[in-house]
C-alpha cells in the first residue's frame, strides 16, 4: 500500500442521489401516478402533476469499458440533459423529458449495437457474475455464456410477447453471486469432482480444524499424508460445494473434465400472484463448451419456447409448471428426469410427493 495522503477522506458514503436526479424526477419525486409502455424498452411515467418522464432501457454486457460509459454519458448529455441510471438487472436507462428524442436515441443505440427492450413480458438482461474474467471459484465462465444466450434470446429482449416476465440468471459457482436460486431460468456452474488437496502445503496455508468444519456433509477428515499435516476427503460424501476451497486455497476444485453447467427453472422473486420461490433442477449437467456453449443456449431456448407455447397469460415458468406438474414439464421439454433430480440434502424428505394427486 502507498503511504497515507495528508488529508485522508474516509467514511463519506456514496454521493447523495439528489445530485443525480433529472429535474423532472426531482420535481415529481413520490408523485408518480401511473406508467405506460410506449413500446418495448420505452416506459412513460406520468405524475400527478401531469409531467412525464420517458425511460429508454438498453441492454448492456455489464462488463463495460470506460469508453462505453463515456459514450453513455455523451448520449445522456445529448438526449437526457445529462441524466441516466442503471437498473437492478444491469441495463442502462436513459431518462428523457422530450418524447421526440426517444426515436433518435434508440436509433443511435441500435446503430452501436445496443438493443432497446427488456420491459414487461420480455426477457431482460441476464444477472450474472465474474467467471473466468475475475473469479478464482468459477466452474464456468459468466460473460461468454451470457453473451451466447442473449444473442439467441435477443428477439425476446426487444419484444414483449411472452406470457409473463422471464428472468434468466447465471452464477459461475455454487456461491451463486448471481443469486440464481430464485430465477425463472438459472444457469449455474458446477463442479463434479471433490477437491484435490495439495497435501504438501495445506497444513501451512490453512487451519485444518476450520477446513474440517467447513464441510456441510462432514466429508473432510484431518490426515497426515507423506508426513505432512493435511486432510483427506471422503469422496463419496462430497457434493462439490467448494465451501472448503473458499476457506482453504489448497483444496482446488477446478477440473475441466468435470466442471460444467446445470440448468434450473421455476424460481421467482416477486410476490405477484404466487409467492417467491426457489429455482428447481431441470438439467443436472452440460459440459463446458466455449466459446459459445451451444448446448446451454439450446437448452435455455428450448425451455423458453416450450413455456411460451403452453403457458397462460401472466404465468411465469414456475407458475406454469405448478399448474401442469413437473411430469408434464419433463415430457414437454424432452428433458430426462434422473436420480439427480431427487433431493438428498437436509430437507430432502419434504420434497417427496405426499399425495395421490397425479396426472396420467
Amino acid at each position: 500500500m502507498t503511504t497515507q495522503p495528508a488529508k485522508r477522506i474516509t467514511d463519506i458514503g456514496p454521493p447523495h442521489y439528489d445530485q443525480m436526479l433529472h429535474p423532472v424526477i426531482k420535481e415529481n419525486y413520490g408523485k408518480w401516478k401511473y406508467h405506460e409502455t410506449l413500446k418495448p424498452g420505452v416506459l412513460c411515467h406520468v405524475s400527478e402533476t401531469g409531467q412525464k418522464i420517458y425511460s429508454v432501457r438498453a441492454g448492456s454486457p455489464r462488463l463495460l469499458s470506460i469508453d462505453t460509459i463515456r459514450w453513455y454519458a455523451d448520449l445522456a448529455d445529448k438526449y437526457c440533459k445529462g441524466y441516466l441510471r442503471f437498473t437492478s438487472r444491469n441495463n442502462v436507462e436513459f431518462l428523457l423529458d422530450d418524447p421526440k428524442l426517444i426515436d433518435p436515441l434508440i436509433a443511435e443505440l441500435n446503430q452501436n449495437g445496443f438493443p432497446v427492450g427488456g420491459t414487461n413480458n420480455a426477457i431482460s438482461n441476464i444477472v450474472h457474475t465474474q467467471g473466468w474474467v475475475h473469479c478464482h471459484s468459477s466452474a464456468t465462465d459468466a460473460s461468454g455464456i451470457v453473451k451466447s444466450v442473449m444473442d439467441e434470446l435477443h428477439p425476446y429482449f426487444i419484444s414483449e410477447k411472452l406470457p409473463a416476465k422471464c428472468r434468466v440468471a447465471l452464477a459461475c459457482c455454487l456461491n451463486m453471486c448471481g443469486a440464481v436460486h430464485c430465477s425463472d431460468i438459472a444457469i449455474l456452474g458446477i463442479h463434479r469432482r471433490p477437491p484435490k488437496p495439495k497435501h504438501d502445503i495445506l497444513g501451512k496455508t490453512c487451519e485444518i480444524p476450520t477446513v474440517v468444519a467447513s464441510c456441510p456433509t462432514g466429508a473432510i477428515r484431518p490426515a497426515t499424508v507423506d508426513g505432512k499435516q493435511s486432510v483427506e476427503i471422503v469422496e463419496a460424501q462430497c457434493m462439490y460445494c467448494a465451501n472448503c476451497y473458499t476457506v482453504c486455497p489448497s483444496l482446488p476444485m477446478n477440473d475441466p473434465l468435470n466442471d460444467g453447467i446445470s440448468i434450473w427453472v421455476g424460481g421467482k422473486v416477486s410476490n405477484a400472484r404466487s409467492a417467491p420461490a426457489f429455482s428447481k433442477l431441470a438439467i443436472p449437467f452440460i459440459p463446458n463448451n466455449p466459446p459459445r456453449w451451444p448446448e446451454v443456449v439450446e437448452a435455455v431456448k428450448n425451455i423458453v419456447e416450450v413455456w411460451a407455447k403452453h403457458a397462460r397469460k401472466f404465468e411465469r415458468i414456475g407458475e406454469w409448471i405448478d399448474r401442469i406438474g413437473w411430469k408434464r414439464f419433463f415430457e414437454l421439454t424432452g428433458i430426462e428426469f434422473t436420480k439427480h433430480h431427487i433431493d438428498d440434502f437436509k430437507h430432502a424428505g419434504l420434497t417427496y410427493h405426499t399425495s395421490a394427486h397425479l396426472r396420467f
Partner: protein
C-alpha cells in the same frame, strides 16, 4: 487484432451477434491497457482449457478499511505478467443507480488513471465494480474517489453496500422512499460497512413494493419490502377501459388473485381484508389501480445463497412498519440483530442460518419482537414444544429440600 498481444480466436467469436459483446469492451481499452491485453490472453487460455486461472483470494485493501477490495492474482503470472495483479475495487453506487454524465465521467477518468478501464455497472450486490488494478494503485484510486465524493463498498464480513429499487424516484407504486432509506442506512452504518467485524456478511436491500424489483427477498439478510394496509385505490372507469382494451378481468386478474378476493362484473369489488398485497391486480391495470395510502414496509430477515446449509428466502419479521426518517425503529432493530449475531453467530454463518440454528424462540426476544402468526406459513406441525419451566409438586419440593 493488431492492438492486442495475443491471438484470441475463441474470444473473437464472441464479438458477433446482436447482444453487446463484453469482448468488444475488453478490446476497446486493450490497446492502451497492457493489463487488459494480458487479460485477453489469459481468458483465451481459460476458454481453450475450460478453466479459470485466478489464484485464491489474497487480502489487500486501503488503509483503515477492511473491505471494498477483492484481491486477485493470476496463476499464470509468469506468462501474463500485466495482469498478475488484477484486484477489483467496489465503490458505493448512488442510491437507485442514478447518475449524471459528469459523475460517470469522473469515475471513468479515475479508472483511466489507476486501473484497467474495465468495470461492472454494477456488481450483483449493487456496487460500482472497478475491475482490475494492482496493489499499488489501490490507495491512489481511493484518494481520488473520496476526493470526488465516492466511497468504497463492502466485502468480507461486514455490512455490504445496501441497494434499492428506483422507488419514489420513478415508480408510482413505491410505498416508502427506498432511496432515502438506503442512503440514510449506508451513511448511518459507515463503520459497519468499512470495517468488517461481523461473523459474516450482512446485506440490506430495499424494494418499494411487493414486486421486489431489487430481489431483496432472495438476496438480502435484511429485506425491506414496501406495502400498504388500507384499501387498494380503484378507478372503476379505468378498470372498464382495460376491459375494453381486451383484458379478461375475471379470468386474468380476479382468477389469478392469490387471495381470490376480487370479483368483477362491470365493477371491480375487492375484499381488502382478504387481499394479501401481491400487486398482481395493480400490475395488470396500472392506470386504474394503485396501492393504498397508509403505506410502510414489511421487514423480512435472512435470505442468502446456498452455501453452506442451503439457500434461504427472507422471512417475515415485522409485518408492517412505517418507514419514515429518522428510521429509528428500523435502525434499533438492525442494531439489536447485529448484537445478537455478534454474540451467537459462528464465522461464515449468515443471520438466516443462525436463526435456523437457534430458532425464532431465541431470536425474537433478543430483538424485542412478539411472536406473530405472520412470521410463519403455519404453526408447528410437530408436537415437540419446549417449555421454559415446569411445576414441581409441593411434596417433591420438600423431598428435594
Amino acid at each position: 487484432m493488431a492492438d492486442t498481444k495475443y491471438e484470441t480466436p475463441m474470444l473473437d467469436e464472441l464479438e458477433s451477434g446482436p447482444w453487446p459483446s463484453f469482448i468488444k469492451e475488453l478490446k476497446k481499452v486493450a490497446p492502451r491497457k497492457p493489463m487488459v491485453q494480458d487479460l485477453l490472453g489469459q481468458l483465451e487460455q481459460s476458454y481453450e482449457e475450460g478453466q479459470g486461472h485466478w489464484k485464491h483470494g489474497g487480502i489487500v485493501g486501503v488503509m483503515g478499511y477492511g473491505g471494498g477490495v477483492i484481491g486477485r492474482y493470476s496463476d499464470l503470472a509468469d506468462k501474463f505478467t500485466n495482469c498478475a495483479h488484477f484486484h477489483t475495487i467496489r465503490v458505493n453506487q448512488p442510491a437507485g443507480w442514478f447518475y449524471t454524465s459528469k459523475a460517470l465521467r469522473t469515475i471513468c477518468d479515475i479508472w483511466e488513471r489507476h486501473g484497467s478501464g474495465l468495470t461492472n455497472m454494477h456488481g450483483s450486490t449493487g456496487d460500482i465494480v472497478l475491475l482490475g488494478t494492482t496493489t499499488s494503485e489501490l490507495e491512489p484510486t481511493f484518494a481520488e474517489l473520496t476526493a470526488n465524493g465516492f466511497d468504497l463498498g463492502g466485502s468480507g464480513s461486514d455490512m455490504r453496500t445496501p441497494s434499492c429499487c428506483v422507488g419514489k424516484a420513478r415508480c408510482e407504486w413505491a410505498c416508502y422512499d427506498t432511496m432515502a432509506l438506503t442512503y440514510d442506512l449506508t451513511q448511518s452504518f459507515q463503520d459497519a460497512l468499512h470495517r468488517p467485524a461481523f461473523p459474516y456478511k450482512f446485506k440490506i436491500k430495499s424494494a418499494g413494493c411487493p414486486n421486489d424489483c431489487v430481489a431483496s427477498i432472495a438476496r438480502a439478510d435484511l429485506s425491506i419490502i414496501g406495502t400498504w394496509r388500507d384499501d387498494i385505490r380503484v378507478d372503476q372507469e379505468g378498470v372498464k377501459a382495460y376491459e375494453k382494451a381486451g383484458l379478461n378481468i375475471e379470468r386474468d386478474v380476479c382468477g389469478r388473485c392469490p387471495a381470490r378476493c376480487m370479483e368483477y362484473s362491470g365493477k371491480l369489488m375487492i375484499d381488502n381484508r382478504a387481499c394479501v398485497h401481491c400487486m398482481h391486480c395493480i400490475n395488470a391495470m396500472p392506470k386504474a389501480l394503485r396501492p393504498g395510502v397508509d403505506t410502510g414496509a414489511t421487514i423480512l430477515i435472512g435470505s442468502k445463497a446456498p452455501i453452506v446449509q442451503g439457500a434461504l428466502l427472507s422471512s417475515v419479521l415485522v409485518p408492517f412498519m412505517k418507514i419514515e426518517p429518522p428510521y429509528q425503529e428500523l435502525k434499533d432493530l438492525i442494531e439489536k440483530m447485529w448484537e445478537w449475531r455478534d454474540e451467537n453467530g459462528k464465522s461464515r454463518e449468515r443471520i438466516g442460518e443462525l436463526i435456523q440454528r437457534m430458532g425464532m424462540r431465541n431470536f425474537l426476544p433478543a430483538v424485542g419482537l412478539e411472536p406473530n402468526p405472520d412470521m410463519v406459513f403455519h404453526p408447528r406441525a410437530n408436537p415437540y414444544v419446549f417449555y421454559d419451566e415446569y411445576f414441581v409438586a409441593e411434596e417433591e419440593g420438600e423431598a428435594q429440600a
